[in-house]
Each structure stands twice: as structure tokens, then as C-alpha cells.
Subunit: 389 residues, 2 copies
């Protein structure tokens, strides 16, 4: 028996397109890339080409099918890039093929390892064990390193948990990476010493290929505990590499991933990308645009992300959902009810509106989180509404 | 005067959404990520936030607008990952925003350099100066290295120009990367010695982050002249790195890029991704699914890719379009008419249908290309129908 990767597709065939033939064409396209009758080996036809295990019409959605195709895990070469290729390489260029689930054998999960720290690691690093975490982003782009450091310091003085670079802060002439990281890390340390707190600063790693490791070494040497990375900007396997080689918490950002989500008939479901995939490659925290903010994710999309980050998945550690994207303090009760205690609430712009009040507003942010968390019942597992599946 | 990156958007606002406000929200989202009134600095509002230069309704398409927003090139940090973030980071998660053009200042173009070899380099390496090139792919996945090498050898004996790994061939237990590359390179060299030909073999580089450079060194040491890479699987900046550091021709594959293309109202146009972007990061050759094959690209999409790969772009070398994806010998005249001489025709499955006839069919492939090329008029620039713009 080979170990199998099982991929679940939601398919909307074109008129006249037969569902069985469509499924077999996917199984061929993602492996041998040639017509059935051009394959001269039974072994290849049976062992390399995917095997359609289930095809059923989705109830209440005539013309829409759910199919499961399984593939020998060896086809992935046990690497992330070739796994992505198997998952959605060529068929991404087709249409009406949506990935809604993926199931990996233990062997693959063990090799990729997933989060190095996971929820308990994030909690240990921040010293916060009984409530959701309060996070913010340093912005706007265009501020000098010392100005960003001043914001970070105020946030830390207010008792916030994680302050990250805005994901547009790279290494720009008006704000150099090294100076920014050094000043922000220093500012947060200074505030922590004054308050006895444990606020963490996460710089954004958005470097060219040949500088990624230099940047990681630099931040690790400064005592930075975690980084922000956008897997779709740097390459998804880059994140796996960071998780396996650097003593850094990883907060993943969804930038450049969004074309998977805007059409319900094509792409990869938000929960699979920002939940399952981001966790597989080692994200300890996954940021996503919460429902009701500036982005069009639904509540079900978001709950599915939260569920997939934390549900049992081989021996992989659970990761923390970080709902974001236009949140403010008013949304805390709702986020607490939706995601429970093991989550990070990321409020950026709304917290930085009045720069003289950042420490006070951050303190208020934490108070409100604590209050909601107590309402949920300390020590009790938080109620979670069912996801979309 | 700052140097500007100019991005052209095709926008389809939701009912009630005002186009001016939508444009300004994009300019904010892609830079400062906060509301206008939270920005306290005029300098940031004027110099960092994008500047809407043009907003006009698309003629004949009521409710659809074309807008140009320019950004200070410094915002990109002059790196590919942050440029991608500026281009389509957060707005990828919105909907009804499509990128249809991008214009970069010379300064940026000079830093990224584009193709290391370009069309003239591909021609010099293959010794073919007066016609389109004939290429194929080694498949199906599941064959052993010696079987793939036998196919490569037959293709070379038939006088084909470039034989590449199928893009699903990675480093799999049933076909190891090193053994495959060594055997295929050896087989093609042996055939070249016998025929006096100059067929090239391009192995697929689909390795985890920490093995990419090892794999590149390995193939370069074997005398391999070029590689296949899927930028969306390995990270787009990885390709730029290869182009700047390795003496290897780069053939780019579109795998995993397709969610940009299936909705005409969202994503990045095929010509911009597979033409402009792939050339910018250094692809000498860009493979794309030709119209009328297994994939839903239109003729206009394909011509636009071909045009953007070869049109003047700063001092960047032009790159070669490689129409593919279900082509056969019957399509050669049409491809020749559409793309002219400076193109590579990639025929995979159809050429390998009968393995005993590969050399003969390849010879026929080249004869047909030569005939079409002569029909086009040797030395004359090939006629090209207008692209979609």
C-alpha cells in the first residue's frame, strides 16, 4: 500500500463536459500530462496517475460536483514546491476547479514538521496564557525608523503582545531594514524593562532570494523572537526553510494569495491556503482578513481558517489564527466569540489613529480582550461556531 | 522628480462604489494600509501613497474603468518581492481589480536586468538562427531516468532543438533528479556527437529552498546550458537570482500562476504575468498554454504574451515565447503565423505518442517548422497580428 495524498475538488463542469472524464483529465494533467492512450505502461496508469475515489453531486447545487482524487505521495517528491504543483500547478490555468480539502499522509507531515512553536510556543514567548493576544502593525509606510520605533515603544508600554512591521515595510531608501529592526527591537526592549512586560516585535522579512538568510541571521542576532513573512511573495517553501532552521516564530501574511479566493468555482479555498497550507509550511500564526472588514471573506471562510489552523493534523502543532484587515476595538467581543482564546487580534490603523494615545488605547485593547475572555469562561474551551464544512 | 512605477488597472466597481474613491483606496491599500485621515504627514500622503493619474470609462463597457496609478519606485525597495506586493499584494484579496499593464522606470529595469541571454542567446546556444525552435518535454512521469534519457536521445537524433523535463519531474523516489539529469545530458551529448547537432537538454529545477543552489551547481557542472523553472512554485525572485548568478538559460513555466487568469475582472492579465513579469525576472523563454489547446487562453492573450516578451523594454533583452499545452504538428503553420520566427514551438505528448518514431517525428517537426518559416519569408520580420491592447 502506498501512502496517498487525497485532494478534494469542487467541480462545475461546462455544459456537455462529463464529470467522470473531467476527473480523469485532472488526474492525468497533474501527473503525466498526456492523454490516457499515450501511456504505454500499466504501472504508470495505475500508480502515477491519480485515482478518482469519490465523485458525487453536491446536494442542492445541481451541476456542481465534489470529487476526491488520491495520488501516491511519492509524486510530491516529499517537497513543498512539487506538492504545490501536484495540488494546483497546471489546473490553476483551467477554470471551474476549486480545491476544498487536502489530506496528507503522516509521512509527509512528519517531513515538513509544520509550526516549530505553535500556539504553546507563542504563549510561552509572550507570557500570555489565558486570553487572546493583542497585536498591531507599524505604519504608515514612509515613517522613519525612529518614528516607527516610537510607536512600537508606546504599544509595548501599553501592554500589547505583538507589534509587527506593516507588510509593506521592506528595505526602502526612506526606511532601511536594519536600522528599523534595530531601533524597534531596542524600543520594545526598553519598554519591556520599564514595565516588566514581554511585548514582542516581529520585523517583516521581504528580501531578495540571496538576502533572505542574511536578514534572518541579522534579526535573530538582535534577539528578535519572530518574523512576519508573506509566503506568496517569498515562495511557500522559504517559510518551511525558516521554520526548520531559525529560532523564530513565524507570522504568515496573505499578500499576493488572493486570486485563489475571489471566485467560488476556482482557486483554493481560503481555509486550505491560509489554514492548512500555511500551517504545513510552518506558520505559527496566520493573518487573514476577517469577515466584515475591508476584504470580502465570509464568516464561514474565516472560521474554516481558524479551525484548520488548530484542528488535529498528524503530529503538527496547532497554529494561531490572527483575524485582521480593518478591525477595531468594537469588534473584539465578536472576534472572541468566533475564535476563542487561542487567537491573536490584530488591530492596526484603528489603534494608531491618535499617536499620543497609543499606550492608553493599547491598554484599553488588552482590557477589552481580557474582559471578553473572562466572559467566555476562563479555562473553558471557547465556543466556536461550525465552519463551512 | 521621483522615478515612478505606473500600474494600469481595469476596475469594475460594485454598485454604489464611486470610481474615484475606489482608485484612492487602492493607492492607500498598496502603500500605507490605513485610512486617509489617519495619515498625519503631507509628505507621506503625497509621496508614498500612489497618485491616481488617469481614470476613464472603458469605451463600450459601461461600468468598467481603466485607471493608472503611479507610485514612487522607492516603495518597491528595488526588489522583486516588494514590487509584487506593491503590484498586487493586498488587492489580490479584493475583487474586480485587474492589472492590465505595468510600466517601470529604467532604474528598476537596470537593477533586475531581465534575461541574461535573451533571444540571441537562445539562438547562439542552439545554433538555429533562421526559424522557430522545435522543443519537447520528457514524459510521462513514472518513467525511469534511463527511459527518459532514451526519449531525449531520440529527439536529439531527430534534430530537435530543446528537450526539457516535464515540469512534474522533480526529485522523486521513482526518478531521482541527479540520475535523470546525468543520463539525459549524456544521452543528448551522445546524439549530438553522432549527428553534429546542438540539441539542448533543460532539466526541471523544482527543489526545496535549501537545495535550489545545489541543484543549479550540479546541472551547470554537468555542462547543462539551461533549466526549466516554474516561478510561482519556487518564488519569482528565485528566478531573478538564477538569471544573475548562473550561466544557465531560463525557460519559465506557468504552473500555479493560473488563478490570475480565469476571471477577466480580477487578477493580473496573462501578458503581464507570463510576458512582462517573467521577462523582468530574467526568463529567456516563457512557456504558455496556446489558444486552442487544453487551456482556456484566448488568441489575444497569447499574442499579448508574445508581444510583451519581445517589445522594447528599457535595455532588457527580448525573450522567446513558447506556445504549448496540447499542440501538435498540424498547429505549426498557425503558430508560425502568430508568433513569427523568434519563438519556440513546444510539442510534448503528441510527439511522444509512438516511442519508436520519435526521431522520425522530430525530423518531421523540424522540416515543417522550416517550411513555414520559409513561407513567412526568411530574414523578414514575421507578420504579427495585433495583441489585445
Amino acid at each position: 500500500m502506498t501512502e496517498r495524498v487525497r485532494i478534494t475538488y469542487r467541480l462545475t463542469p461546462h455544459p456537455g463536459q462529463e464529470i467522470d472524464i473531467l476527473c480523469r483529465s485532472i488526474a492525468l494533467e497533474q501527473t503525466v500530462e498526456m492523454a490516457e492512450d499515450a501511456i504505454h505502461s500499466d504501472r504508470i496508469r495505475e500508480c502515477i496517475v491519480g485515482n478518482c475515489e469519490v465523485i458525487e453531486e453536491v446536494s442542492g447545487q445541481p451541476g456542481c460536483y465534489q470529487a476526491v482524487i488520491s495520488y501516491d505521495a511519492a509524486v510530491t517528491g516529499y517537497t513543498v514546491p512539487q506538492f504545490l504543483n501536484l495540488l494546483y500547478g497546471n489546473i490553476s490555468i483551467k477554470d471551474n476547479i476549486r480545491i476544498v480539502d487536502v489530506e496528507l499522509p503522516c509521512d509527509l507531515l512528519r517531513r515538513w514538521r509544520g509550526p516549530q512553536f505553535g500556539i504553546s510556543g507563542v504563549r510561552a514567548a509572550t507570557g500570555v496564557h489565558d486570553r487572546p493576544l493583542a497585536a498591531t502593525a507599524l505604519k504608515p509606510m514612509g515613517l522613519a525608523p525612529r518614528e516607527l520605533a516610537a510607536i512600537a515603544e508606546e504599544f509595548a508600554r501599553g501592554g500589547g503582545d505583538i507589534v509587527k512591521d506593516d507588510h509593506g515595510l521592506a528595505d526602502q531608501p526612506f526606511c532601511r531594514f536594519r536600522e528599523r529592526v534595530e531601533r524597534c527591537q531596542e524600543a520594545v526592549s526598553r519598554a519591556n524593562q520599564a514595565t516588566g512586560g514581554t511585548t514582542l516585535y516581529f520585523p517583516n522579512i521581504c528580501a531578495p532570494f540571496h538576502e533572505i538568510e542574511e536578514h534572518l541571521d541579522y534579526v535573530a542576532d538582535l534577539g528578535v523572537r519572530g518574523v512576519l513573512i508573506a509566503p506568496f511573495l517569498l515562495g511557500l517553501d522559504t517559510v518551511r526553510h525558516v521554520a526548520q532552521r531559525y529560532p523564530l516564530l513565524i507570522m504568515a501574511h496573505p499578500a499576493f494569495s488572493g486570486t485563489h479566493f475571489h471566485d467560488r468555482r476556482h482557486g483554493i479555498a481560503p481555509g486550505v491556503v491560509l489554514g492548512t497550507l500555511f500551517r504545513l509550511i510552518g506558520s505559527d500564526i496566520s493573518i487573514f482578513p476577517n469577515a466584515g472588514g475591508r476584504f470580502p471573506f465570509t464568516q464561514d471562510d474565516c472560521l474554516d481558517i481558524g479551525r484548520r489552523l488548530r484542528a488535529p493534523l498528524g503530529e503538527l502543532r496547532p497554529a494561531m489564527p490572527a483575524p485582521a484587515g480593518g478591525m477595531d476595538l468594537e469588534r473584539i467581543p465578536e472576534m472572541a466569540a468566533a475564535y476563542g482564546n487561542d487567537a491573536i487580534f490584530l488591530i492596526g490603523g484603528a489603534l494608531l489613529h491618535d499617536r499620543r494615545r497609543i499606550a492608553a488605547d493599547t491598554a484599553q485593547f488588552v482590557v477589552r480582550i481580557r474582559r471578553c475572555s473572562e466572559d467566555l469562561g476562563a479555562g473553558e474551551p471557547a465556543p466556536r461556531r461550525a465552519g463551512s464544512r
